[in-house]
Amino acid sequence: MSGAPRASRQRPHGGGWEVAVWYLMRLTGVALFVLALAHYLIVHFLFDPSAQTATWIIDQRWNQLFWRAFDWTLLMMVLFHGFMGMRTVIGDYTHRPRVRVLLLTILYLLAVLLFVIGTLVVMTLPTPGGA
């Protein structure tokens, strides 16, 4: 680190995956600024969570393709942004390569698991008609 105080890591030099991740963190971050804040304000401010039972979600929220698509997109953005962020955190606090590889493996497996069950429920939750 040199020169003026920084608010974030410098963009990595060279090309490749690390630079892509640097850009994608910012891209997904901006997408989440819109999607995640909208989601939270709708679920917690416009509506009260106590009213949003499983039946309510089936009948009122995920009866519309728009909200399924919105929520799934939100999930994709958050899985990338969150798990790539945790990759950085793990990298900062582990010193031994084997420990890091182990933790990152668990991290990525967890991400895959969440991707599978999240996609599964968005795609297969019945519509009110019972389809």
């Binding site: 105080p5 920084r6 608010a7 804040l37 401010f45 949003q52 945790m86 019945p126």
Partner: protein, 128 residues
């Protein structure tokens, strides 16, 4: 290396960003699993929802919102600084500026979430 940016706003900005990020990440794991229950075991979901709607659940909900709002606003600040280098002169001013929308948005949201605990009226938005 526990702390990255020594001193003042830069350090706190980074620290809060990391803490809020990890907290949100942990919540997201819980949340994807609980939404899976909507399809997998709706009764279990409704039971969990009752916990979320309890007093302690609402307090945690407010803390989640605080983490989310800070992380989002400071994240925006980071994007501005990364892609508009001339603004780095105002790096510290921007960090303080983050707190303005944080309070303006955060307070009504915190009220709305905690109101039922105290028997206070919530804001109504038609549909409801």
């Amino acid at each position: 290396m526990l702390l990255r940016y020594r001193g003042r706003e830069g350090m706190y900005g980074w620290l809060f960003h990391r803490i809020s990020g990890v907290a949100i990440w942990a919540f997201v794991i819980l949340h994807v699993v609980d939404i899976y229950l909507v399809g997998g075991n709706p009764d279990a979901y409704d039971e969990l929802l009752a916990i979320y709607a309890s007093t302690i659940g609402r307090i945690l909900e407010v803390l989640l919102g605080a983490a989310l709002l800070y992380h989002a606003l400071n994240g925006l600040r980071i994007v501005i600084l990364d892609f508009w280098p001339a603004m780095t002169r105002y790096q510290r001013v921007l960090w303080w500026a983050v707190w303005v929308p944080f309070v303006l948005i955060g307070l009504p949201v915190a009220y709305q979430i905690m109101a039922p605990v105290f028997g206070l009226p919530q804001f109504e938005f038609g549909g409801g």
